[in-house]
Amino acid sequence: MLILSRKPGESIVIDGRITVKIMRLEGDMVKLGIEAPIQVPVHRQEVYDEIQKNNQEALTPTVAKLPRLTAKASPTPPRAVRNPLPHAHQR
């Protein structure tokens, strides 16, 4: 891992197109300003971690009793559910 020392107001540049700037220090908090092209997703590490944890909790025994969903008005016809992948090519 590359470790750089930066002061508030200073930046690093990644790949010539992503800028990470140290905005300010607030106690034990560092405020970062990130400028990246729209096509570069930027997320907190916790988002990945919580989705990973949720996935692990979600693995369900296939004999599980299923809940009944309350009938709910749906703007989309349920055709997609009866034939979820209607246009898929056979592989």
Binding site: I38, Q39, V40, P41, H43, V47, Y48, E50, I51, Q52, K53, N54, N55, Q56, E57, A58, L59, T60, P61, T62, V63, A64, K65, L66, P67, R68, L69, T70, A71, K72, A73, S74, P75, T76, P78, A80, V81, R82, N83, P84, L85, P86, H87, A88, H89, Q90, R91
Partner: protein, 142 residues
Amino acid sequence: MNTLEMMPTERHATNGNSVIQLPYGLLGFERVQNYILLTRPEEEPFLWFQMVGETKHAFLVVPPHFVVADYAPDLSELDVAFLQLDDPSDAFILNIVTIRGHGEVTVNLKGPIVINRRTLIGKQIIPVNASEYAIRHPLPLS
């Protein structure tokens, strides 16, 4: 809560056993890339997203329009390009359901699985607007 007990053998694969490929896997299950989607009319709108070769466990999933009327995950351009989504209608979206016990069932709106209907390539996406959605959205149960 009404429940239905189902045997997995009574479910049938959608789309003629076609394998759905997730080249990056699901987060936490990166090594597992091949899935099939199982359905049974009595279990609708739920479907089972099952790893190929694994029959004892699977991911319970639901198309999001059964849960929230206005679900609109905003995909990054990288994800659109990776999935080769030429048109929004190419995208088939599934959200993972978790049965947590004590009658609590939640659906993950923060990390949807997006599948290209034409290519059957999919990816678990973190939408650009992920912060608008809950990872434990409570399911309305009867």
